[in-house]
């Protein structure tokens, strides 16, 4: 009896110090609850109550604001534009990213390091600086691309590159390229080369092996990348604003404008809710599509 009691008393401390319990995570969990969960709840709530200057006027729960937004043609047009810009840039990013990731997986030493530097350094650079870079390249008469084309004699007049869908697409694609490359890189680098040997042995060419074995096997990673790039593109408001010009808007841009410029917080909240939920739905669809294409992967789970 006496032998039991001391064991019981010290085990609690030991658990804490050995980190077996939940205690070390508690500060972070509480922090996130207070500064993430509650604010998110507030955001959602603001769409469904009447507010005046940030204070709730009356606690009535109303669906009117949501209804107004869903009936607004503009909202649907913006959503459509947000969707296809995000979808297109995801696909473009995939086609540009895959060869880089494959190259990385096939190289050693210096080349690998170079690829990593090229991929990671933009990642660590501010989104604003990267968007500004495209402003410099594509911008009006003084834009670098135009200057180069004119001096090479390819065109006489400067092309209107900025403030177009293409500018936004190009900017989005390039800026999100590292997000697609990194997951693909990891998967391709760790793949089972014996499967490719087997394919060669069975008569396929290296190119045939690439399309019959390497690419299908990487489908889960491809769709994970697509989902990620879609999500960040869909919710990106910096690139469309800077490269698309004042008249250009996507749903994300609208959320920003309503909240900060127009100061219509109710509308901002409602649009943000719509933005988040539709983004979530699209991402789920992409992931589901990926799972369907890679049904063979379930067997392993």
């Amino acid at each position: 009896m006496a032998a039991d009691a001391p064991k019981h008393r010290t085990s609690g401390w030991r658990r804490i110090l050995h980190g077996r319990g939940i205690w070390p995570a508690v500060p972070a969990l509480v922090f996130l609850f207070v500064f993430l969960v509650l604010p998110m709840a507030t955001l959602l709530a603001f769409g469904f109550v009447t507010i005046d200057r940030g204070r709730v006027v009356d606690g009535t729960f109303t669906l009117e604001n949501l209804w107004k937004a869903l009936n607004d043609d503009l909202v649907w047009r913006l959503m459509w534009r947000s969707f296809w810009v995000a979808a297109l840039s995801s696909v473009f990013t995939l086609f540009l990213a895959y060869p880089v990731a494959y190259l990385f997986a096939e190289s050693r030493g210096l080349w690998r390091a170079l690829v990593l530097v090229a991929v990671v350094s933009p990642l660590l650079t501010s989104a604003l600086v990267r968007a500004y870079a495209w402003l410099v390249i594509l911008g009006g008469r003084r834009g670098i691309l135009n200057q180069t084309l004119i001096s090479l004699g390819v065109v006489d007049q400067p092309l209107r590159l900025l403030n177009t869908d293409w500018a936004v697409l190009i900017g989005m694609t390039q800026i999100h390229l590292p997000f697609m490359i990194l997951p693909l890189l990891a998967v391709l680098a760790e793949r089972d080369r014996r499967l490719e040997e087997a394919s060669l042995n069975l008569g396929a060419s290296r190119t045939g092996t690439f399309f019959r074995v390497v690419v299908p096997m990487s489908v889960p990673a491809i769709f994970a990348g697509l989902a990620l790039v879609f999500a960040v593109s869909y919710t990106n408001f910096i690139v469309p604003q800077l490269l698309g010009g004042g008249a250009y808007a996507t749903l994300a841009v609208q959320v920003y404008e309503q909240t900060i410029v127009v100061l219509d917080w109710t509308r901002g909240a409602v649009l943000a809710t719509i933005l988040l939920s539709t983004c979530f739905a699209f991402v789920l669809a992409i992931v589901a599509a990926g799972n369907r294409l890679a049904r063979w992967n379930e067997a392993a789970a």
């Binding site: 922090f31 955001l43 990267r130 990194l182």
Partner: protein, 269 residues
């Protein structure tokens, strides 16, 4: 022993190399162009630059608004890094070594902010603060950025922690060290590089951030990216290129730190 390569393979290889080369150039060219443009002596953007001049860099440091915003960014980022490590590293411990009911849910929740666009975190924080009659301020910015950056600190710490051999802890205990001493002598030193990498990454993410900062920063004390956001709308001189080049330089330094501690490949996992 020379092998003749099949034509289809040569074609395939060429296409692959071309696209990969194009993508790699596409990745770095914009930043390099901005850096080049920042040395342009004249008052407009030109590439290649017509000369070499540091006047725009001088103008940056002479610009009170810009230097103030750089200071704000530094101080805010340091605070976020501190908070991120203090909250995140212990959380990583629980996530890797903990054995408690609901561990999976806890882990998922800790990494949840990654799923949120910065804009949403920013607006949510703004609204939440407004509800309690708090306006956008440095404090709100720091808190919101900490939420945004916490998953980065946690993930980097977790990755390293998971790779440590628990038997080393057992050996330490067997040799007589108590749990606190084992932590200090065995666990922490091994964790060192990861902590540095986590700090570096958290710092740069907080420093660079626009999406959260636009909503939660005080108008009178804007961090650098926000300042640039407004500047870009009306300034067409290479001054912005100069500030951008400085920022690119900072991120390059951070990249070296991460490469030397945990390696750049870690960022893909």
């Amino acid at each position: 022993m020379i092998r003749r390569a099949a034509p289809i393979d040569v074609l395939g290889g060429a296409v692959l190399a071309l696209v990969a080369g194009f993508s790699l150039i596409l990745l770095v060219a914009p930043s390099l162009i901005v850096i080049a443009v920042s040395f342009e002596p004249r008052a407009f953007i030109s590439f290649p630059p017509s000369g070499f001049s540091l006047r725009w860099y001088e103008s940056v440091f002479a610009n009170r608004q810009l230097t103030d915003s750089i200071q704000v960014s530094f101080y805010v980022s340091l605070a976020v890094t501190g908070a991120g490590l203090l909250l995140g590293v212990p959380a990583a411990f629980a996530s890797v070594r903990g054995t408690f009911p609901g561990k999976a849910a806890s882990n998922a929740f800790l990494l949840a902010p990654q799923m949120m666009p910065g804009m949403v975190i920013g607006i949510a924080s703004l609204f939440f603060g407004a509800y309690f009659a708090f306006r956008a301020s440095d404090a709100m910015l720091i808190l919101a950025l900490t939420v945004f950056c916490l998953p980065f600190a946690i993930r980097i710490s977790m990755a390293r922690l998971a790779g440590l051999d628990p038997r080393l802890d057992e050996a330490s205990a067997n040799l007589g060290a108590g749990p606190a001493e084992t932590f200090a002598r065995v666990t922490l030193p091994q964790l060192g590089p990861a902590l540095v990498a986590a700090a570096a990454f958290t710092f740069i993410e907080a420093f660079d951030n626009v999406t959260v900062a636009l909503f939660t920063s005080d108008v009178r004390a804007r961090p650098l990216p926000v300042e640039l956001y407004y500047l870009v709308q009306y300034d067409s001189t290479p001054a912005i290129a100069a500030v951008s080049a400085l920022e690119i330089g900072l991120s390059f330094l951070i990249m070296i730190v991460i490469a030397r501690t945990v390696g750049l490949e870690r960022l893909g996992r």
